[in-house]
């Protein structure tokens, strides 16, 4: 592992709307991400968990350059991503690729798999026809699909197959980092297993780095090295996977862990768990989790706790005034 991280985010914030209407009224401002800082080392798999609307996908889109942060900085091997893109429009796409949540929606229904996979080979790699043909075959083989599948249209595939095609397309650019945005949540369990196993194999073969976004903790626990817990656009806990699952320090991480159903085990959460996500247009002053937190104290209502290292495990930090014991 080198000293400069592969990817690092520094105080990345993204909000939508804001400003004023021509006639002076205030335009509502939506906070999607608030000052998120984290970094990834080459070869690791970082899990990003949180509930819907917590800013997971916004973060992912920022990382691959589909969106720009409102403020803050994203670096690739110590270099500003924005600069990189300014110099070479396609530079980012050759290093970072994205796998979408809904595999069928991520494939153009009117284009064959061949066309879909060939595009990055032409535009990102600049390969000639023969080289492309060869590459396509290896790609298909690497995601366990037959070459004759190339001539088919997306609707002729099952969800699991379609997701494998999505992975193949991401791999076609030969990236170093793959952002996997809930890659298995739209799939049936049996398909889910296939795709997860495939991802594990690919990582080993190609030395990839994964940013793995999921709401399913049991999946995260299986595939990730470290976990970042996101709540309401803020990073509330960051820890090696074993540390987090053994001993979550943020009350929200704890709630998440307790909520996950396991086969053969009855639920461990009270139905009375109150409270919802705060209104993103009017974020609360203090800790965003205050409404739902059983440990809430007066300080939590006033002051947003910073993300700070905690405890014994290396690389474990939490944003809580009163972390769990």
């Amino acid at each position: 592992m080198s000293h400069t991280p592969l990817l690092s985010l520094q105080g990345v914030t993204r909000h939508f709307g804001g400003g004023r209407y021509p006639w002076g009224a205030r335009r509502p401002l939506l906070h999607a991400l608030q000052s998120v800082s984290l970094s990834m080392a080459q070869g690791e798999t970082l899990g990003l968990v949180g509930e819907s609307g917590c800013g997971k996908s916004t973060l992912a889109r920022l990382v691959v350059g589909l969106d720009r942060p409102s403020c803050g900085r994203i670096e690739w091997r110590g270099e500003d991503l924005a600069d990189l893109v300014r110099r070479d429009r396609r530079a980012l796409a050759r290093r970072l690729q994205y796998v979408f949540q809904d595999p069928l929606a991520a494939l153009n229904p009117r284009r064959t798999v061949h066309q879909a996979l060939e595009t990055p080979l032409i535009h990102l790699r600049g390969l000639e026809r023969d080289a492309r043909r060869q590459h396509l075959e290896t790609l298909m083989a690497s995601v366990l699909l037959e070459p004759h599948h190339l001539q088919r249209y997306p609707h002729e595939f099952s969800g699991g197959q379609a997701q494998r095609i999505g992975i193949a397309r991401a791999l076609a650019a030969e990236p170093e980092l793959l952002v996997l945005d809930e890659p298995v949540s739209a799939l049936d369990v049996s398909m889910q297993a296939q795709v997860l196993n495939l991802l594990a194999d690919l990582k080993q073969q190609l030395g990839l780095t994964y940013l793995f976004i999921s709401h399913d903790l049991s999946v995260v626990e299986r595939v990730c090295d470290r976990v970042a817990v996101l709540y309401f656009g803020q990073l509330v806990e960051l820890a090696p996977v074993s540390a987090l699952f053994k001993r979550p320090r943020h009350p929200y991480s704890d709630l998440l862990l307790r909520s996950a159903p396991l086969p053969g085990k009855p639920s461990r959460v009270s139905e009375l768990q109150e409270g919802d996500l705060p209104d993103p247009y009017r974020p609360p002053a203090g800790c965003p989790f205050q409404d739902r937190c059983p440990e809430r104290q007066a300080r939590c209502l006033r002051e947003m706790p910073p993300l700070a290292p905690i405890g014994d495990a290396e690389g474990h930090s939490v944003a809580c005034h009163f972390p769990l014991g």
Binding site: E51, A93, T119, A193, D276
Partner: protein
């Protein structure tokens, strides 16, 4: 259900079109008119422009003039044929011009968004706000009369339709993940627009063409009618109508004949257009746009008789439910039996498309029909056979003794009514109470499912609530009339994991408090095991295993159950198991065991003949010739 066969119709597009009788008659009409128009130069017709003032205004059926003559003694039949030729050519070219320009504007506006979108659409607004005939009049006045100028005018006034329709679709497409994917594949914006967006917009353009073509022919006729189109002596249908209108009261045939021709032509185009629209519009595909009946159609060969007095609250015997799409028959449920005693919870587990939802929806006849229908079996609820019961009886039970909680609470609640009104409606449908009383009951129900501030929430619209709250409202609605049975179809699938846990907890408590039975459908073994005592595992429309939940999880007997459980990631487990292959197509179920093609333990016997349920004791049964023994892995 269904995504896999979404586009199965594509190869047979022509056949589908030909199945539509109206469209076919439109097509034939158009073909006939088109052929006639094309063949005009070779038909034995007199010169359409040859005047014979002496023979003017002859009535139809005059020898030598089948349709009579006009004010200059010109043969109307010949003019009609030649005029149709001109009108068709005009209408088609104007449509194409409008389609080209309008689609381009719409594509660019929808894809670029922001300021350019605003600017372009303001321009389109201006065109639309302008009375279209005046615009056309003014354009022709500027350019001078003539067919080509009239064509431009008509095309211009129709650009907004294409621009608006195409923009709408493009706007939706531009947010699709596959556009992002194309950007990440390194394509430039113009290439994305051309290669990724355009092919998906084309059907909309074709639909718009099919709906505007007739309209354009009418409008061109309108301009010619005002004398701004075809120049004499050339005939088009509009100018024939215009020349004849002065004589409407004395010699009506001179204008009625071209008028009828315009009517028939446009009618043909519209008929065909409807057919094309039905074909291309994804919403209309596979007959989805047929009105679902109040209950699922039941087409049982014979009414089953009761073998013995039903002991359970709910008994389902040999249920067969399927979907007919075109000539295909999809067997979604293929002989399902289930029993549920009072106060019991039963889970049904299976992958998507296994028929679990269809099975439970069939109980109260909520499977959309058409295309669905129940072909065999019987359902007894509290001793009443539901499939044969009259609609009124069924409606009294629905929402009364048996209630549903569905997967997507946002879609399941009416978006336009307040939550309180929807609850009140459910109460008043079954109880003879005043609205005020019902309102109070409803409020109490919200309190019972632990919604804070129930009085305030009663006045909220569904979209103002969070997902968890919406599902609580749905559950409250199910509880409204003290049901005996709640059928919950994946009620937590759309929810976040913390909310899911709460909802499961809520159902658990309600079951205990109200002694209500729950039939719980899920794809997730973990979720089912959190709530249910017994479980059914379904595969390809059949129950393959049933038993107490702990026993099935700890020692599955069917290889499919075992593999399915093995797929679930659990802490400290080895590599995830996978199931090779994919489920069979429901319209081509294999003979014998449906799982045989994917089963690691398959034997020759598995593919021969029906495999029946085997009782294993302990209330367990399995549909397998070679069930797993305890501790054995597949």
């Amino acid at each position: 259900m269904g995504r896999e066969r979404d586009d199965g119709s594509r190869p047979g597009a022509w056949r589908l079109l030909l199945n539509n009788h109206l469209a076919v008659s439109g097509l034939l009409l158009l073909l006939l008119i088109g052929l006639l128009a094309l063949a005009a130069p070779w038909l034995p017709l007199p010169d359409p422009d040859a005047t014979a003032p002496v023979d003017r205004l002859l009535p139809p059926l005059t020898p030598g003039y089948p349709l009579g003559t006009d004010a200059l003694g010109r043969d109307l039949l010949s003019r009609l044929v030649w005029g149709t030729r001109v009108s068709l050519a005009m209408g088609i070219s104007a449509t194409l011009v409008a389609a080209l320009v309008g689609s381009l504007v719409g594509l660019v506006a929808g894809f670029a968004g922001g300021r350019s979108d605003g600017l372009l659409m303001r321009g389109i607004d201006m065109l639309m706000a302008f009375p279209y005939i005046l615009l056309a009049l003014a354009i022709v006045a500027v350019l001078g009369p003539g067919l080509v100028n009239a064509l431009y005018a008509i095309a211009l006034v129709n650009i907004p339709f294409f621009a608006r329709n195409v923009r709408g679709v493009t706007l939706g497409l531009a947010r699709q993940p596959f556009i992002d994917a194309a950007r990440l594949s390194g394509q430039s914006r113009s290439r994305i627009l051309l290669l990724e967006v355009l092919p998906n917009v084309l059907p909309v353009i074709v639909i718009t063409i099919s709906t505007t073509l007739g309209w354009m022919i009418l409008e061109t006729a309108g301009l010619s009618f005002l004398g701004l189109g075809a120049q004499p002596p050339q005939a088009d249908l509009g100018s024939m109508l215009g020349e004849g209108r002065k004589l409407l009261f004395t010699t009506p045939h001179v204008s009625v004949i071209p008028g009828l021709m315009i009517f028939i032509l446009v009618m043909g185009i519209n008929l065909l257009g409807d057919g094309v629209r039905d074909l291309l519009d994804p919403r209309l595909k596979s007959g989805a746009l047929s009105r679902p009946l109040p209950r699922t159609r039941v087409e049982r060969a014979q009414t089953p008789t009761l073998q013995e007095e039903p002991t359970s609250l709910l008994e389902v015997r040999d249920l067969h439910t399927g979907f007919s799409i075109g000539r295909q028959r999809y067997h979604a449920v293929h002989g399902v039996d289930l029993d549920l005693a009072s106060g019991q919870t039963l889970g049904i587990v299976g992958e998507s498309g296994c028929g679990k939802s269809v099975a439970v929806m069939s109980i109260t006849g909520l499977v959309a029909s058409p295309p669905g229908s129940i072909t065999d079996g019987a359902v007894w609820l509290q001793g009443v056979e539901l499939l044969g019961a009259p609609l009124a009886r069924l409606q009294a039970l629905r929402g009364g003794a048996v209630c549903h909680v569905f997967q997507d609470p946002l879609a399941s609640l009416h978006p336009l009514y307040r939550v309180g009104d929807q609850l009140v409606e459910a109460i008043q449908a079954h109880q003879d109470v005043t609205r005020r009383q019902a309102w109070q009951q409803a409020q109490a129900l919200l309190a019972e499912v632990h919604i804070a501030n129930p009085a305030q929430r009663m006045r909220a619209y569904p979209h103002q609530l969070s997902g968890g709250m919406r599902q609580r409202v749905c559950i409250a609605m199910a509880l409204a009339n003290r049901p005996r049975l709640i059928i919950a179809d994946e009620p937590t699938t759309a929810l976040d994991v913390t909310v899911q846990a709460q909802i499961l907890g809520l159902l658990q408590r309600l079951r205990q408090q109200h002694q209500v039975s729950i039939l719980f459908v899920s794809h997730d073994f973990s979720v089912v095991s959190a709530l249910c005592e017994r479980v059914l595992v379904m595969y390809a429309g059949r129950v393959v295993e049933s038993g107490a939940i702990e026993q099935v999880i700890s020692a599955p007997a069917h290889p499919y159950s075992a593999l399915l459980i093995g797929c679930i990631p659990t802490p400290g487990q080895g590599p995830l198991q996978t199931i090779p292959g994919s489920p069979p197509a429901l319209d081509r179920l294999p003979e014998g065991c449906a799982f045989a093609p994917r089963c690691p333990r398959v034997q020759e016997r598995c593919t021969e003949g029906e495999v029946g349920m085997t009782r294993l004791g302990d209330g367990r049964s399995v549909r397998c010739l070679f069930p797993l023994q305890a501790g054995e892995s597949p």
